[in-house]
């Protein structure tokens, strides 16, 4: 068909109908060992996922109405006033830290900490497959931060906190008049020093500085001593970043422990800020 070629120059065209088995079909899964065609193998999965999501969302939206409370009234503060659920981990941290840490410093550290992960994780293993054995520290640290410190605190914030941000179990009714008698102490009170005094401030500050000094240097020296390959690969800058982020993250469970067990409010009191 020379004529047809002229009219459809540069385009492919079915020239004849040939009955029989197609050359492709499922068999081309075996054509390449590592790859499959996006159409249809990936696109159909995406299509299916979109349909399933649509069904889930539709059922959810039909059966459950979005909340709409009374018109906003700046003079009528609800008790408790809760942030959106995905920020309740941060609001829960307010029990243990002042707003500038719980609401500003920690969120910044979380975002920055997440961003630096690929640059401080020098372990080339576990790229593209699941493994716990080959990257234990990375996975355990991430899961502790994500599941325990983030998700669990959100669950606490959503379900366990009632009026006055007091702990209520889900089966308890919220009693707006319940008062929890609690005396809080600052760290230096335990050794009989007023935390607001100059001496108390110096002691508290020393404890904070010492915490970071010890947690940064001791593991470093230990790893150096046992001739850690990982440390060598990390280098001192990456090590310092990892250690700083890790031990800052650990201040939350430590402070939670101190607050819940020893009723400790502040470790370091200064005229400008409290930690």
């Amino acid at each position: 068909m020379a004529e047809d070629k002229e009219t459809t120059k540069g385009r492919y065209r079915a020239l004849a109908f040939v009955k029989g088995e197609s050359l492709a079909k499922e068999k081309d899964r075996e054509v390449s060992k590592d790859e499959v065609h996006t159409w249809p193998y990936l696109v159909r999965v995406e299509f299916l996922a979109a349909i399933i999501m649509t069904i889930i969302l539709m059922v959810w939206a039909i059966t459950l109405d979005a909340p709409l409370e009374d018109p906003s009234d700046p003079t009528l503060t609800p008790n408790p006033a809760k942030a959106p659920w995905y920020f309740l981990g941060l609001q829960e941290m307010l029990v243990y830290f002042d707003p500038w840490i719980a609401g500003v410093i920690y969120p910044s550290f979380i975002v920055i900490g997440l961003m630096v992960i690929p640059y401080v994780d020098v372990n080339p293993k576990g790229n593209g497959y699941y493994t716990l054995k080959e990257r234990k520290f990375a996975i355990l640290t991430f899961c502790f931060g994500f599941h325990v410190l983030w998700i669990l605190l959100i669950i606490v914030g959503v379900f366990m906190r009632g009026p006055g941000w007091i702990w209520f179990w889900p089966w308890e009714t919220w009693d707006a008049h319940r008062v929890v008698a609690e005396t809080n102490y600052d760290l230096t009170h335990f050794i009989g020093v007023d935390s607001k005094s100059f001496l108390g401030s110096v002691i508290g500050g020393s404890v904070v500085v010492l915490y970071y000094f010890v947690t940064l240097t001791i593991p470093y020296l230990f790893l150096k001593l046992i001739g850690s390959q990982t440390l060598e690969k990390l280098g001192i800058v990456r090590y310092a970043i990892v250690a700083l982020l890790f031990w800052t993250m650990m201040t939350l469970p430590i402070k939670m422990f101190l607050k819940l067990v020893f009723h400790m409010k502040y470790i370091w009191v200064t005229p400008w800020f409290n930690i």
Partner: protein, 275 residues
């Protein structure tokens, strides 16, 4: 197939119908018509070539490469979470545009527009429910996506930068959800945003209640919270700012980062796999 005289004539068509049947001829003529071929640059035969062309020649599908790694369509590898997040983003964009038709971002109308959706707009409640629950689902899907990418180590070189983009998108998703929370102008949104933005007061240096804030001359009328709210309280200006960030500002930023995010997947060697 015939001589020059027959070409394009009714006789030729009749002869083809006789030989191949009406369905095949109509199909063939449609697929070879100028209109069809201006839409679709490829045939429908199931061959490897057509499969590749289906992806390459379609503006939406060409986000994908023509071939993907064998494990890419597997649910246990991707959990479909990135795709579902993007799908929910599209759902939210579409339902959001519909909602904008019925919404006035001012203190007088905003709440009653919600009631209007319920009582006057056909399927208005469903529309709002879809948007609200879709937003919650998107936050959850983003978190699952991040968790999966971490567990498969897919942030490792050469994908470090795309992880950073992903963290930005995660933060943007939370901010989108947060700005949307205020728009119904009910007690729930009002106080959630009040609690949330009160944190900004405590920002070190930039908030009037934060450490060293007053040293920089911060007051309730010039600090970072004032910039966020357009005032010292959550009011009409805050509502308008939330609305513009929610409907215009943040979607523009998210779209930009999404483009980079998707583009980088391919530039960084496609979906991750054992190297």
């Amino acid at each position: 197939m015939g001589n020059k005289k027959e070409k394009g004539s009714i006789l030729k068509i009749l002869r083809l119908i006789r030989e191949h049947g009406v369905v095949n001829v109509v199909k063939d003529m449609t697929l070879n018509s100028q209109v069809w071929r201006s839409f679709f640059r490829h045939g429908l035969e199931d061959t490897p070539k057509t499969r590749m062309e289906t992806i390459i020649n379609n503006s939406f599908l060409h986000l994908h490469p023509a071939k993907v790694k064998r494990h890419a369509p597997l649910f246990r590898f991707t959990w479909c979470m990135g795709g579902i997040t993007f799908f929910l983003f599209l759902v939210l964009t579409i339902t959001g545009v519909f909602l904008m038709f019925y919404y006035h971002p001012n203190v007088r109308d905003a709440y009653w527009d919600m009631k209007g959706l319920e009582y006057h707009v056909p399927f208005g409640t469903l529309l709002r429910n879809l948007h609200r629950w879709g937003a919650h689902l998107m936050v959850i899907a983003v978190w699952f996506h991040m968790f999966r990418v971490f567990m498969t180590g897919s942030y490792k070189p050469p994908r470090e930068f795309n992880w950073v983009i992903g963290v930005v998108l995660l933060v943007m998703t939370l901010l989108l959800s947060f700005t949307g929370y205020l728009l119904p102008w009910d007690q729930l949104g009002f106080w959630a945003v009040t609690v949330g933005t009160n944190m900004a007061r405590a920002t070190p240096l930039l908030g009037h209640e934060g450490p060293f804030g007053n040293l920089l001359g911060m007051t309730a009328y010039n600090d970072i919270r004032f910039a966020l709210l357009g005032g010292s309280l959550v009011g009409g200006n805050a509502l308008l700012r939330a609305y513009i960030w929610h409907c215009i500002g943040l979607p523009m930023i998210v779209s930009t980062f999404l483009i980079v995010h998707f583009w980088r997947i391919r530039k960084d060697g496609g979906i991750s796999g054992k190297l």
